[in-house]
């Protein structure tokens, strides 16, 4: 995984949106896609089932142009959330520079969230990556739903965020919190980049 290449002056960040099924990972990407100027984005690749569920993964390349002399590219991926697509998830996770865990704020989805987070940990481990070292942020999606159906960000923090990672509440469908999340993960990834080149 070469994050920053001083020779070709390229920075490439692979960011994977991870989370249980129907938590809103693809919605995140769609919203980002809609906000990026045409010239900056590549074709969004989305392989979905007939019921609009992600079958394999979504892929959205974004070209941020020249930054500090580096041609900077972000590659956003989502994984299929359904439990039985674990092989695909593991594949997509390979070489990820950062992970956004998109959690479903609905109270009844809490177990799925926990399970998916554990799945993330074990899949990362398969690639020899410690979940404690990879840049990771949490997004509590669907915060626009009625209060009685969802858990508050504080509750979700208690349940999922035991490592005090940056967390964002969001309404990915309408875009609230989407870019905040993306900024959050980018910052972590790029900071690691700085630390990485120092080593």
């Amino acid at each position: 995984m070469s994050l920053v290449n001083f020779t070709t002056r390229e920075i490439t960040c692979k960011i994977v949106y991870y989370g249980p099924g129907r938590s809103g990972k693809t919605s995140n990407l769609h919203y980002v896609y809609g906000r990026v100027p045409d010239s900056r984005r590549g074709r969004m690749v989305s392989l979905a089932t007939q019921t609009d569920r992600t079958l394999f993964f979504d892929f959205l390349p974004i070209d941020l142009g020249q930054i500090s002399g580096f041609s900077t590219r972000f590659q956003l991926y989502t994984v299929p959330g359904q439990v039985y697509y674990n092989a695909t998830r593991r594949l997509v996770l390979q070489g990820a520079d950062g992970v956004v865990f998109v959690g479903d704020s609905q109270a009844r989805q809490l177990d799925e969230n926990v399970e998916s987070l554990q799945n993330l940990q074990s899949n990362l481990l398969e690639h020899g990556v410690d979940i404690r070292t990879i840049p990771l942020v949490l997004q509590y999606n669907k915060q626009d739903l009625p209060r009685e159906l969802i858990l508050s960000p504080a509750d979700l923090d208690d349940a999922l965020n035991f490592r005090s990672l940056p967390s964002f509440s969001a309404d990915a469908l309408h875009g609230k919190g989407v870019f905040e999340t993306l900024k959050g993960i980018s910052e972590l990834v790029l900071k690691k980049l700085a630390a990485g080149t120092a080593a």
């Binding site: 906000r35 930054i67 980049l193």
Partner: protein, 658 residues
Amino acid sequence: MTSALNSKYSFDTFVVGAANRLAVTAGRTVAENPGSAYNPLFIYSGSGLGKTHLLMAVGHAAKKVAPALNIEYLTLDEYVEAFHAAIAAGQGDAFRRRFQNVDVLLVDDVQFLTNRKEMQSELLRLTEALQVGGHQIVLTSDRPPPEIADLDERLISRLSGGLVVDIGAPDYETRVAILRRKADERGAKFEPGVLETVAGAESGNVRELMGALNRLVAFQAVNDRSINAETAKQLLGIGAEAASAPGGGGKGTAREGAAPGPRAGDEFGDFLADVTVTVGKAVEAWRARVGEAVLRWEGEGYRTRRLEALLERDTPAAVDAVIAAFTQDVERLKELEAEVAELDPQAAGQSVFRDPERLREAEEVAAKVRDGAAPPPAPSAAFPLAAYAVGPSNEVAVSAARAVLKQPGKKYNPLVLVGKSGLGKTHLLNAIGLELARGKRAVVACLSTQAFVDELIAAIDGDRVDWWRARYRRATALLLDDIHLIAGKERTQEELFNLFNLLQDKERQLVFTAPAQPHTLPGLEERIASRLAGGLVAELKEPDREVKRAVLERMLGQHSASPDPALVDYLADRPADSVRGLVGELQRVVGAAAAQDGPLTAGLAREVLEGQAPRDSRRSAGFRTSGIVVSSLGGIKSREKMVWDWSDVADRVIEEFR
């Protein structure tokens, strides 16, 4: 090459307030009377407060008063560019003439003169020329002349010589007036209170104010409805941050239409800006690392040009590799310097050992020093210890030598071998040296005192005494032959004294030879003599029979496999006061045998050594066993006093008869 005056920027469109009144008045005055009132006029202010506007307004006004005037407006960058282009085209003089003929010269952003020495002098020359010619010059900058970094003193005084005025940030009223005028210019109408709201926001410069106004205008145009003060606040994010806290659903009304409109387009921009800052920081982190490395090595006294060159680049390079390479070079320099310091302390101080860019040179210097600092003279291989004949006459000395070899520097230090010439002192000295030199990392200096003195003289002559000293200080053992030759050489004695102490302190072996007891040697300083006597003085006596036999057997063994025992006996029994004498006699016999092409026999030896030419075979056969045995202990030491060869009886009779 030069910018045209923007017609929008005139005094008419310039809103005058308390903060800029002086500057505007000065500008008007200058425009009406170019070259006579304030020359040069220097206007400075923060960004976005109207410098450029005012500058152009001066141009327009001057043009209006006197249309024939030659007015030139340009930024300093343009000026520099034009200058460089002119120089490149060989048109430097034409360029200067052209600007000297300008009636009103308006130069924007002169703060960029920093670090441009040649432009500073060029501008100084131009300003002088314009002033002399009565032409006006107006300059703007974001700071007053004395605060422009690196600006030539003469230029500072020249620029400050006219009038220096600043434009402050506009006050509230001015801001409202500016907004109103701008809104009018665009034909935009706002509900009462909107512009006041905008003006009420903290904004340090007019450009930001314009930006805010532009957003309102755009929003109104897009939504086709006029906005009120409250919406304006929200649009511009004035005091509205609190309302859009993340988390809960918030107010339902806020989401209706206002938020997605202006925000949507910005989201990616914001993100990009954010990433840019982060990448900037991340990528710029290399600067910090380079800076650290520079500080570190500079602190240790090394030149860091290579690293500094990295900092001058805009884009990062593979800095870690460069730093690593640099560090490696410095380490190598350190090694070289340490090595050279031991060989030649004077050479080690050279600056070349502090500049990694000159590593190659440093290597060369070190190589030279290494060559020059050849190890001190080593013992001669011609004197192995195995070949040293041992007998009662020298066993004290030899056992002392063995003790020295067992514990160099510890038991007998110094060891002084005393004895007359030719007794084998030099042989034993070199033999000790050879044995000591077998040790790991041994540097054995073994030479005659005469050579030692000569070397010092040469070193003094070549101004390399330090080098000379270092050469000997490195030695793990010092062996000097014929130490009495140091007599009367004060400087050598001084040096030897110091060297002696130093080596003895470090438990390095010292061995000397002398013809007599140290105290009896004339011309030797007491401090040297006492030090020599302080170790073990071992005396070598005249060779005994055993020694002589051993020497003879060894020497004869070189000529024939089984030397004639009679010859050995004969020679060993001859009195000899030194091994060297004995060897000399043997050489004569060997020479004679070689001349006759005959065998080495006792008879031949007798003939050769006793001065009797060999006669016929009968006689020589008759003398083969003389039976005369003369021991060296027998009291007869002089050959002349001995009768070795009696003449024939008949000869003696005739003699007597005569």
